[in-house]
Symmetry: D4
Subunit: 254 residues, 8 copies
Amino acid sequence: MDPRSLKELLEKVKEGAVTPEEAAARLATLPYEDLGFAKVDHHRALRRGFPETVFGAGKTPEQIAAIVERIAAQGQRVLVTRTSAEVHQMVAQARPEARFHAEARCLTVETAPAHALPGRIAICAAGTSDLPVAEEAAVTATFHGATVERIYDVGVAGLHRLLDRAETIRQADVVVVVAGMEGALPSVVAGLIDSPVVAVPTSVGYGAAFHGLAALLAMLNSCSSGVGVVNIDNGFGAAHLACLILRGRVPPRP
Amino acid sequence: MDPRSLKELLEKVKEGAVTPEEAAARLATLPYEDLGFAKVDHHRALRRGFPETVFGAGKTPEQIAAIVERIAAQGQRVLVTRTSAEVHQMVAQARPEARFHAEARCLTVETAPAHALPGRIAICAAGTSDLPVAEEAAVTATFHGATVERIYDVGVAGLHRLLDRAETIRQADVVVVVAGMEGALPSVVAGLIDSPVVAVPTSVGYGAAFHGLAALLAMLNSCSSGVGVVNIDNGFGAAHLACLILRGRVPPRP
Amino acid sequence: MDPRSLKELLEKVKEGAVTPEEAAARLATLPYEDLGFAKVDHHRALRRGFPETVFGAGKTPEQIAAIVERIAAQGQRVLVTRTSAEVHQMVAQARPEARFHAEARCLTVETAPAHALPGRIAICAAGTSDLPVAEEAAVTATFHGATVERIYDVGVAGLHRLLDRAETIRQADVVVVVAGMEGALPSVVAGLIDSPVVAVPTSVGYGAAFHGLAALLAMLNSCSSGVGVVNIDNGFGAAHLACLILRGRVPPRP
Amino acid sequence: MDPRSLKELLEKVKEGAVTPEEAAARLATLPYEDLGFAKVDHHRALRRGFPETVFGAGKTPEQIAAIVERIAAQGQRVLVTRTSAEVHQMVAQARPEARFHAEARCLTVETAPAHALPGRIAICAAGTSDLPVAEEAAVTATFHGATVERIYDVGVAGLHRLLDRAETIRQADVVVVVAGMEGALPSVVAGLIDSPVVAVPTSVGYGAAFHGLAALLAMLNSCSSGVGVVNIDNGFGAAHLACLILRGRVPPRP
Amino acid sequence: MDPRSLKELLEKVKEGAVTPEEAAARLATLPYEDLGFAKVDHHRALRRGFPETVFGAGKTPEQIAAIVERIAAQGQRVLVTRTSAEVHQMVAQARPEARFHAEARCLTVETAPAHALPGRIAICAAGTSDLPVAEEAAVTATFHGATVERIYDVGVAGLHRLLDRAETIRQADVVVVVAGMEGALPSVVAGLIDSPVVAVPTSVGYGAAFHGLAALLAMLNSCSSGVGVVNIDNGFGAAHLACLILRGRVPPRP
Amino acid sequence: MDPRSLKELLEKVKEGAVTPEEAAARLATLPYEDLGFAKVDHHRALRRGFPETVFGAGKTPEQIAAIVERIAAQGQRVLVTRTSAEVHQMVAQARPEARFHAEARCLTVETAPAHALPGRIAICAAGTSDLPVAEEAAVTATFHGATVERIYDVGVAGLHRLLDRAETIRQADVVVVVAGMEGALPSVVAGLIDSPVVAVPTSVGYGAAFHGLAALLAMLNSCSSGVGVVNIDNGFGAAHLACLILRGRVPPRP
Amino acid sequence: MDPRSLKELLEKVKEGAVTPEEAAARLATLPYEDLGFAKVDHHRALRRGFPETVFGAGKTPEQIAAIVERIAAQGQRVLVTRTSAEVHQMVAQARPEARFHAEARCLTVETAPAHALPGRIAICAAGTSDLPVAEEAAVTATFHGATVERIYDVGVAGLHRLLDRAETIRQADVVVVVAGMEGALPSVVAGLIDSPVVAVPTSVGYGAAFHGLAALLAMLNSCSSGVGVVNIDNGFGAAHLACLILRGRVPPRP
Amino acid sequence: MDPRSLKELLEKVKEGAVTPEEAAARLATLPYEDLGFAKVDHHRALRRGFPETVFGAGKTPEQIAAIVERIAAQGQRVLVTRTSAEVHQMVAQARPEARFHAEARCLTVETAPAHALPGRIAICAAGTSDLPVAEEAAVTATFHGATVERIYDVGVAGLHRLLDRAETIRQADVVVVVAGMEGALPSVVAGLIDSPVVAVPTSVGYGAAFHGLAALLAMLNSCSSGVGVVNIDNGFGAAHLACLILRGRVPPRP
């Protein structure tokens, strides 16, 4: 029924009975509960405005390859997180345009160019061990159409490195800050700027780091306002939130 | 401005009006970034673009009244959070325009109209016990110049109440979601919309709620992307982050 | 039956066929309650009314095969949870009717048809990663004689998927809800229906999910009444509880 | 009734008494699911089939009295949990039929007789300190129309006391088991019977009881199947779940 | 005795004095173990061999006074722990022989002399803040008939104080060691002696002591063997265990 | 110096200047701090009265074999815990009398018969998964010279199994109770007997068992007095404590 | 001095003024290590080289006054931490020179001038709420004879304030850093200097600060080396450690 | 030097050799502090006064070899922690002077002799399982130029072993104390001496040791003052802090 109603609407557009503007407006307000699409994720991706993402952990290479192919076959762009070179080799057989981002452990299939987002995201990382998470964020944001500035190895133990980059950070519209161990970087960064900060604790560290708990608690207790925290190691989620923030922003300051 | 004052200093060195030794001494004491202000809080407020806020908990009424007066005397607007009617009475003697927001436990002194922010913030609260935190967010956002839509008592146990308000939520530019107990509301809201969500766990609940820990963990693990989490009961912080997000946005959709 | 066997023993004492000393000795070795069986597990299964279950984790394939054979040889049906295809191959040599349920990681030997339970159990799962636990519940409930309705991939991030199935869920007599990450689904489901909900947190998630702790706490703090929680990943336990609830119920609503 | 009111509305549309536009407008404001009421709590209570409950903690006596009166004025029965004799005195001025259950810290206003539920609930409590929670469960269940059997002070340290009551427990259709400290009672009870057990950990104990955490973990890890756990000290929730289980059951065994 | 009474019953069946039906009924209602007492606590005290104890916390002075009187009226000795001078005054009206042990927060009514236990218990306490718990242990042990040696203020920060008392400790048959903060004392004491150690963590300390958790974990991880741990602040429990250990011992070494 | 003073003492014995009795007395009181033995563990073993034990985990087979040989070469008996069949093979080349206890993961070299302890230890285990820990306790106690009664698979889910063995348990002088999951068995056992109970939580269980934390907390909060708790999975420690308790006891009751 | 008194005793033995027997007896009662004092605390203070300290929390004003008088009467200087103005009033009656440090909640009685320590301690505090702990450190260090530099309100949210004081911090010989909330300050400070840092987490913060746990974990996981951490709110302990570090240092750099 | 280079720059401005614009630009890119180096780690090492360290965990052998070579090629000494013999073999091909410290899991390349530090560090370890952490500390301190005294296997279970070494410990200028399990050793050591103690909890232990948490909490709650704690297993960090303390000390006492 729902696909039918969608088709009917589109038919009416075709027939001129409904203007495209009207159709767009109606599609935008389509009730969540009854629109119905066979493939749920397609719907969600469309509704929330970003291409599809597959969480690769815990899926077999075969499963991932099949899902990717199903999405790409519809002409949609797809991002796979927490995956491996092995999966890339399997996917690349059918989709040679697939690209593996080794440090980010991500795979992208760009069936079409990304829709560019306004503004700029700065991605700061405290240490080199935090790079896989930072790169997951960077690849995700780039894939979503954002302009990304990488500012790595600026942990608070060497403040001059951070301050050298302060101006660049200040010019970003959103700043994603990735840090493990004591997780102090988001507080310091947020104190320097007037843009929103998305903080990502990482599981980097040992002993009383308790797999990222120390950094997570630190970020939640930031003495600087303007910090929103995502789950431990969740580079994808941070970039996704940053891109939602970018959408609707005025073009970046020159 | 700051680079300018630096250049001025150097010009004076060139002109011989300042000796290199004097310049070195002054540079050494200059605040790294933007060249300092005697009054720190003024500085921070100005730099980050929002009026001043005083965290009232743990301060005596006298202390709060003195701080408020010092700020207001400079013509600045001031917000006090976690405060009481008793403090309001003391402040109102010198500042009759001071207003107490009982449910939010906030006090505001509006020495000047707020600078209006573009867009709109929806503030959702799960239950009536979450209202103090939600109101702290609402008062803060209003004080910062935001247009606020209150959507209260829409906990997931009665989904129809939430769905009735879905369209309003969807039209907001940022959504602050306040919930205690199992903290499920941010996940559900984020799944319905394409704007960023700022999630605030509250300490509402008992037993295994562990003073907000259950809601906090739930929000950090949201299966919906696009959720940034702040500290337990931190309504102020959530509104502040939401206002940072609003700044720079295009005017709200009509 | 048991009181009867007790009376028979006492009759024999009265008749002199058994001396008081012998009776005392036999009574001393009788299980306290209902008067025993040499094989304890047989006893428990019979007493509590469901066929036997073997928890496979931590047992060698040889051990499991031996236990299964011992039970099946008595004509009893047997369920093995947390097991593998390797165990199935070993069991199937002696019991070709053994069946392996791969996703549920369960093995069943149906030496006789199950005794059908009245009513219906709906098993809801939030995400595809929760399926092994959901399937453990489904296989267990089916094995116990229940009619099971699988309602999978209805996580709260895509509410329309859940609402599409709301009517089916509402018609069930008991609902088992399986969810990891933020564990919000039981609260939402319980708010939609008037049947008891058995909630199963799963260890799905990462970082601050803390191996299921986040989902567990969320479910214990459900703002919807009518939710009973079992251990993390305990699909078997949830189904068992659901079947106990079904027993004694009137036939399902038409 | 709700479907009826929906039909009535549609009938009126058919008869012309209500225009389609008016009907559409009214339907648009109806709660999503089952067609709504202005007063949310009324709706939920009706939909889920039990009378209304007010969680008294954190509400002022005046607030509680007002809510109670509003509900009672509609001829509905109402239960207030976590309340005090002070509230009772205030309520009793307008509603002399109000009754205070001191040990349960509950207040009931029985504007009409309860609708009797089939079967029987046994409520077991381990120690005398657990009685407030057990009584909250007992008062709730009675108020919901259930027949309740109180079996108190049967902690596992004195097993004979429990075994003395084993037959009574076995004859119940659902058993609510309340225990603090090491929380062992639900495991022992569930091992003796073939009915579902609802386990309520209490915050009774000190030191490493950690306010009920020890009992909670014990109950979640019960080696006996058939146990569903609710939040710490949640006697109301346990009774509510037990009553949901009772509904639809065949009359109790004679 | 119990097997005897069982045989007697069976003899009567054989003799026809009791019908099998009657015997079955009586067996069914017989407490499993030792054939019951109307008053449970009396039973437990008698069975386990020590006089009665009342845990005073959470009981009103009136309740405690009533319980004490009921027990004392039967000529039994009674110990109340976690109580106050106020309770003592109330009890002393009826029982002038009641004695209040202020530091131990205990009340004793010695209706008869204690039955002396063989051997000796040394009770070591690390700091002066641990004395209430240590005294609860000392009063309990004395009340149970043990000879007690108090060895206080021997924390590991001043090892010479402990070593000065080493010989006394070594001569004890059981050693109760009470310590808060880092809880190191039981490890050190157990390394010096060849008697069993009962370790009692106290909630003394602040910050990362987490109300006794630090001391508790330390004691459970003692590098010295021969240490059994009881709950935080459980001086009574430690003394009770120590007295159980004493019973059956040969007279102390001269 | 210390070995020298020991030699001097022995010389004087040789010369008749000191009687052996006097020498024994002096050796028994030798101060801890200055006696000095090259091999510390020999000293500790002698002083505390039990043969030597080697904790095998984290040591290489070669290391263990060397240590064992060094001890055995002095004619002393030795126990290795947490070890493997591989280590046994290596040790057995030099010490064919070495014996491996597979379930207990222990290795013993009995260079001489154990010195028999008075009394009897009952070792109760809740489930079959607890057997490795229970066997570690049993092998340790036997090695220390104790008479051991194994009472396995008596978990509280099947109370009749436990009650069948109650008399045997009651006759023991000390009872070691091993249980994982909800850890309820020590409470139940301690309620049935009047001997000290040494409780051993095991890491058996999953999910909210948190690797033995649930059982540990339960045992610390036992509502039965007379329970001392050791570390998770510490079967050796429990047996060692039980043997310390046995020493000095009168012969067991007939 | 202590070695001296030992020598004196031995000299007297040599001279015949003390018999060997008397000397042995006196030596036997001397504390193990270094030759003891009847009054333990006196001994410890002297041995470790700092005047005496009394932990005031949990002691009555009368108790504190008595202890202070006993120490002061011996001409010793005394510091009381965690105390109140009420105690000061009581002490000041006998000791008018007693001084109360309100913010530090400390009381000092300076019966003699402090023995000056070489070098300088910088005490940094992140926020004004951390001042009571910072002042406890400052008063303690001053009392111990150290030169103290207070550097307050230099939290990482306003980095310029900290950098303004960087040179002063760098010139200190030891730096005590006090911070609550996310506890980031020690990492930042340690990265700027080459002196040891003593980090003190405070319980300042709310929600996920968990009473100082967040700051504690952050400090333990500092990405800057050279940081030693003390207990939450333990300003005294930090200052004590800093003073131990100062002792033996060369005079401060000019 | 740095103030000097700043002055030189300003002199050139005065002389006209550098324009104010150029000077402003160069100042803007100068590292905050002074000096600025392309290679950050070089900078940090120089600034903080110790040679470079590489944390080996999580880096590939190739990465470590490359980093080591880059540092060594500049004539600098380098220490790699948490590494393996495999890495050593790779490094040794280019740098035959590289040395592997197996127990410490460290690799050093001594391109030049260390700059000797004044004083002495005693490194105490409780048990043999703590040696890898203790050796990491010992190798680090030696590499930093400190004189190290190893005092191993002095756990509190055998106090005489510790007391035998007390004099040696007392003569050290700083004492690093390494302990797992109950972590009691730092408290005992700090009570014996008047030098600062750096405490290192290790993850040695099992069950309720919770991977070093028990030892960590114990050390933070030490009843002896003068203890600074570092992260679990952080031997390097402890030694680094100890060396910072040594610097600036007067030569050790003779």
